[in-house]
Point group: C2
Chain length 347, copies 2
């Protein structure tokens, strides 16, 4: 059963209840966490026979607002977000979904579900489209300030996740930077570059934002601030292009555009619509849908989560991560490389 | 006369020579800096009567490559970039244009043309389109690592520049962040927020990347790394949308799209095509065109620079900046605000 924070999201609980009903009709068992005075009437308004669906309900008296400061917010023990997260930690439910305040979800997941042993920071990851397939990007906003070792771990998490999902033996790891040359980047990026270059991951170097759709990498790592800028610029540009395309078109071009795949395109770069983003590095499946998710987005997030639960994706991923986080990352290849460098210097 | 680094750019000197001829035909006086063995034959190939145009020529034996490390590169005293920059510093020419390595241009400008007194770091600025007009964004890539005081000065430069160009009395200053709430952002952004909030600039708070086209600000400030990610994501997304739009269209939609304003749109978010970006905070007009500029882009950059020179834009801007950089920025309003806060605490 999936725990849905029914009060989280810009248009919640309308969109969450409607999305939950749509997913439940497809056989996804869901437990709604929210204020009964709001949720029950909505359930009846969207489906009079909702009680026949695999839907259950837990009353929560509090709600964490979208603008609430995360650390303060998670003190609201009776909020839908905290109670839903707690139910996952207690194994009452098997996964958590919310379109609420992502900062609060992150803090709640870290404190309640807890990080996988050895992981310094969880990261938000999602597949973004490329010309030939997709690239798994992380961190998309969980950690605004990163130390080099955090991004290094994001690379390991991306490596293991993509290896598992896409059955690629050695996923190519790229580092988001302001130029492809090794000397480009902020101090942080330069330090991460050095570390990844010495790891045994298949590190392909810096990737510029202008090449993000080219598909030179299977995993793209970055700090949460840059990831947020990149993702939201993609969404903003797709919207703007659609606006300007209509604005600059003649009446007959506009007519054609009504039938054009512009809408399909918007979905392509909007992770919320294609299911939601994963919080990687915590012990349970935690899925973050976009704040402005509509009912369809919530339904998609629930279906995506259902698949993850059934395929035990997070469970398997957590196992592999635990095995690899301490031993696998700086292996003999890196040490031998260092030794070679030293020998070379002595020549 | 404008000094053009004829060897700078991915497709230089072909594009630079062709662009220079196009601009010279419109009456823009240009001095080409480059290798005579390459430049002279090209000049004749593009226009046999080029000697009748307002074009002059200075031979430079070296070239700074696009991948050269900036600090090493500027030691090449006989390179086209350095010699062109030197001619501006000596007042032999009145402005500098290059599509070369932007890192090297920045370092050369700082060492040769020099910063305006009191300015800690020059910044690359350019107008980007919004739904209702444009927003002046800086820094678009000059400073990958920024201290809060750098971005604070970018805000002052943006304020003065937009005030002068757009005749807006109090341009609205926005700060690029990962959320509009004041508590959002990296440590750097939070510190800049505090400083701008206490300044006498018309600071409108954080602006999310997803709202960058909305037009809530006249000036948008950010560090050069984030600016680069934002700008290049815009360019990549516009290109990708165009690609997917064609890919997902039926044959008749594709036919229509050939006549659609997609190309016009690409120009909208590509500063190179609309003239180039300005390096603000140095004593002379320094214009950076995109590395992949074609001949038209070079022509546009030269025309843009010509206007800036004729209208004495940089001269006037430098004067105003010098007057304001020390005195204007932390005025009585900020001090009185602090005093008020202190009094409030004592109550």
């Amino acid at each position: 059963m999936i725990a849905l924070d029914a009060m989280g999201g810009d248009q919640a609980p309308h969109t969450t209840v409607q999305g939950a009903i749509q997913a439940a009709r497809l056989g996804v068992p869901i437990c709604l966490f929210g204020n009964e005075k709001k949720i029950i009437p909505l359930l009846f308004s969207y489906d009079k026979k909702w009680e026949k669906l695999p839907l259950s309900f837990v009353h929560c008296s509090d709600t964490i607002g979208m603008a609430d400061e995360p650390v303060k917010a998670i003190k609201q023990k009776n909020s839908s977000l905290i109670m839903a997260m707690q139910s996952v930690a207690d194994n009452t439910t098997s996964a958590f979904v919310s379109a609420g305040n992502s900062g609060s979800i992150l803090v709640a997941a870290t404190f309640i579900v807890k990080r996988i042993g050895g992981i310094k920071r969880p990261a938000i990851g999602s597949f973004l489209p490329t010309y030939s397939g997709s690239v798994f990007c992380l961190d998309l906003g969980a950690n605004t300030d990163c130390k080099p070792e955090f991004i290094e771990q994001f690379a390991l998490m991306g490596h293991l996740f993509v290896k598992m999902i896409k059955k690629i033996d050695k996923p190519r790891i790229g580092l988001l930077s302001n130029g492809h040359e090794p000397y480009k980047g902020s101090q942080l990026i330069k330090e991460v570059y050095k570390r990844l270059d010495q790891s045994n991951l298949n590190f392909v170097g810096n990737v510029e934002a202008r090449d993000v759709f080219v598909g030179n990498a299977d995993v793209l790592v970055h700090d949460g601030f840059s990831g947020n800028i990149m993702l939201k610029t993609m969404q903003a540009t797709t919207k703007a292009v659609s606006f300007w395309l209509k604005k600059y078109s003649s009446w007959w071009q506009k007519l054609i555009l009504c039938f054009s795949p512009l809408e399909a395109l918007k979905k392509k770069v909007d992770y919320s619509r294609s299911g939601g983003a994963l919080l990687l590095g915590v012990n349970k499946p935690v899925i973050i849908a976009h704040g402005c998710s509509n009912a369809t987005a919530i339904k998609n997030a629930l279906l995506y989560t259902h698949r993850l639960v059934q395929q035990k994706t997070i469970e398997n991923f957590a196992k592999q991560l635990q095995e690899n986080v301490h031993h696998h990352f700086f292996p003999f290849s890196a040490i031998s490389k260092k030794v070679k460098d030293l020998l070379h210097l002595r020549k």
